[in-house]
């Protein structure tokens, strides 16, 4: 029975190959895949190209940006099973950090990046300590409120530009001779892609170790996790903080590309969008989540030719897809390892 499954399920077949593959083969595979992604801007043919907007800019935002944020939110929603409707707050905090420190100080971009992540983590704790004592949807509405509060504060604080936001945000310094400029958006894409890879490296490591197990246990059954010695509160808080840091990083890079930000860019619907990416792609499965992010980021751009109807169609697609694949496009599904390997 299982045999048959293995035979006909490409995913399992890949899995089997992966399990059998030598570290060299794996390394090669990774390399090829990564290389392919880095090469994307050169392969912009009409099929994957997007109308109206420039493909490079779409690759950077929304695609990779969504992917980074989705991976971050997935730590919270997918791995630990906490519904967070205010994720945009961390993105905003990152973006404003880059804007404020970029414009008013000449702090090195990389320091600002760390700073942005730091502030986002702090916000994660600020939100988490009270909110994580609540459960389920009570927690959800609090996070939603947090997202709104951050935006409203930005609107009403003249010191950081108020409603008009901040303009003249500097770009990152050149890396390996690559200039970051609006004419050529590929460097931004490559930068963000690199960040994404780093994030993935970290998250994958964590998921296969103690913290990953703790998060999964919490998602499966918080009470029992506690009975089994898991420090549930601490790990939930960690999930918030890590998710926050990732969102913050995304924000910093985003701001450094679009040169000017305004509070309007950080509204609830972005949180919802990212959440949709996570669930749509396959909660808890990092690859599914990335795929979901890319798809949900790409569709509206690709659908631009529908002008007025694009969000309409987009909405229908969401309903249909969720009903066809309730667990997401690439659901979280641990392959059951065959005993020889234990």
């Amino acid at each position: 029975m299982k045999k048959i499954l293995v035979l006909f399920n490409p995913r399992d077949r890949f899995g089997d190959w992966w399990d059998r593959a030598t570290s060299l083969q794996r390394g090669m595979f990774r390399l090829v895949l990564i290389g392919l992604f880095f090469a994307l801007p050169f392969i912009n043919n009409p099929v994957i190209d997007t109308p109206e907007t420039s493909f490079e800019s779409v690759l950077f935002y929304p695609l990779v940006m969504f992917a980074i944020m989705a991976v971050g939110l997935n730590v919270v929603v997918g791995k630990s099973g906490i519904l967070d409707l205010g994720y945009v707050a961390f993105f905003a905090i990152g973006a404003y950090t880059q804007a404020v420190f970029g414009i008013f100080t000449d702090l090195n971009f990389w320091l600002v990046l760390l700073l942005g992540m730091g502030f986002a983590m702090l916000a994660g704790i600020l939100l988490g300590v009270p909110a994580l004592r609540l459960r389920g949807d009570y927690l959800a509405i609090i996070t939603l409120g947090f997202g709104e509060i951050v935006r409203i504060i930005a609107v009403n604080t003249e010191a950081i530009g108020g409603a008009a936001g901040l303009t003249g945000i500097p770009s990152p310094p050149p890396i390996l001779g690559m200039e970051f400029s609006v004419q050529d958006l590929r460097p931004y894409y490559w930068l963000s892609l690199t960040i994404l890879l780093l994030v993935l490296w970290g998250i994958v490591r964590l998921s296969h170790r103690k913290p990953g197990r703790a998060w999964e246990a919490i998602r499966e059954d918080e009470d029992v996790a506690a009975f089994m010695g898991v420090q549930t509160f601490r790990y939930k808080l960690w999930a918030f903080v890590i998710g926050g840091a990732i969102g913050g990083a995304a924000g910093v890079i985003y701001a450094s590309q679009i040169l000017s930000i305004e509070p309007k860019m950080f509204e609830l619907n972005l949180s919802i969008m990212i959440l949709a990416c996570v669930v749509f792609g396959g909660m808890g499965n990092i690859w599914g989540v990335i795929f979901g992010a890319v798809l949900l980021g790409y569709l509206p751009e690709k659908l631009r030719f529908l002008t007025d109807y694009r969000i309409l169609i987009f909405g229908i697609l969401m309903v249909v897809m969720m009903n066809l694949r309730p667990n997401g496009l690439i659901p979280r599904k641990k392959r059951e390892v065959i005993l020889e390997k234990i």
């Binding site: 519904l83 009570y138 509060i149 919802i272 669930v279 109807y309 909405g315 309730p326």
Partner: protein
């Protein structure tokens, strides 16, 4: 920060707060009923409300009541309003049932994660908002002045106008009606049973799907009625009107203890007042900050809202 206004305008702020709260309540009940039965946030409920407001407008169009006509006589108003509220309730109720059928039913039967349903609902919400945005060419719609808004009488700073009185009376009537339905009808029994424990109640012969549909119908009808009052009170709508009202109503439901009908009422009126007072004292733009901070504080003291029952943790 001007607390003086709390004194000088206390009566009018309070009165308006209660009126606004009544409208929130009618919407919040929809969230809470569905949540009670399905344990999920019906994200598209705000759009159900929006459809109600649009229906109200459509009715005035059909009746050929121009936006700028003079207020109607009491008799003709009563007639028109009954027509409007019936139409709106019907439209909202039906679309709520359809929504459940399209966006939730399949996922529920597959016992999919609640988040899947949430995203499906969000998709539906996008669709409905956009649909009406296109139909209305993303215009704001002005609703005709159906009834004269000259104050009937004045309580200190509060002007008591007919429309506000109408909202209060109408809402109260509906609450009592709902109370009867839930506590003294077969449907109500079903709803309460399923909220308690779906599987068991199914074993006891409750038709869960039917109960769920009827719950959505009930929630939709209330939202529709709410939209009618909303239109008479605010006299404007647009495709995304649901969002702001929806967020407030949902917050109210949580504040009172989501899943709990009385909680939804208490939460709504509390929220209405909080919003009025806070926007008067700190300025409208800080209103939502205050609202959410208070919400957090309340939930920290009572983790399941004002009237929420103690966290029913799974029996270990």
């Amino acid at each position: 920060m001007e607390f003086s206004i709390l004194v000088s305008e206390f009566a009018s702020l309070t009165f308006d707060g209660i009126v606004v709260g009544a409208i929130y309540a009618l919407v919040a009940l929809g969230y809470t009923l569905v949540y009670g039965v399905l344990r999920l946030i019906n994200f598209a409920h705000s759009e159900i409300f929006m459809i109600g407001t649009m229906t109200c407008y459509a009715v005035t169009l059909v009746l050929g009541i121009a936006t700028d006509t003079d207020p109607l006589t009491l008799a003709s108003f009563t007639l028109v309003f009954l027509l409007i509220i019936l139409a709106a309730s019907l439209a909202s109720g039906v679309s709520a049932v359809i929504l459940e059928f399209v966006a939730y039913r399949r996922l529920r039967i597959m016992r999919a994660s609640r988040l899947s349903s949430l995203i499906s609902a969000i998709g539906a919400s996008f669709f409905l908002t956009e649909l009406f945005r296109i139909i209305t060419e993303s215009r704001n719609i002005a609703f005709p002045r159906l009834v004269d808004k000259e104050p009937i009488f004045v309580i200190s700073s509060a002007y008591v106008t007919f429309d506000k009185v109408l909202v209060l009376i109408g809402a109260t009537a509906l609450f009592f009606l709902l109370n009867r339905v839930i506590n003294h009808s077969k449907l109500g029994l079903g709803i309460r049973a399923v909220s308690q424990d779906e599987t068991t109640s199914v074993l006891m012969g409750v038709n869960a799907s039917r109960v769920v549909s009827l719950t959505f119908l009930l929630g939709g009808i209330l939202a529709g009625a709410g939209s009618a009052f909303y239109m008479v009170f605010y006299e404007t709508t647009k495709a995304n009107v649901g969002f702001l009202v929806g967020i407030s109503a949902f917050t109210a439901a949580v504040l009172g203890g989501i899943g709990n009908v009385r909680g939804a009422l208490l939460g709504s009126f509390t929220l209405g007042l909080i919003q009025q007072y806070s926007s008067a004292v700190l300025g409208y733009n800080w209103r939502d900050v205050v609202t959410f901070v208070i919400l957090v504080l309340v939930l920290l003291v009572k983790p399941t809202g004002l009237l929420g029952e103690a966290l029913q943790r799974a029996r270990v």
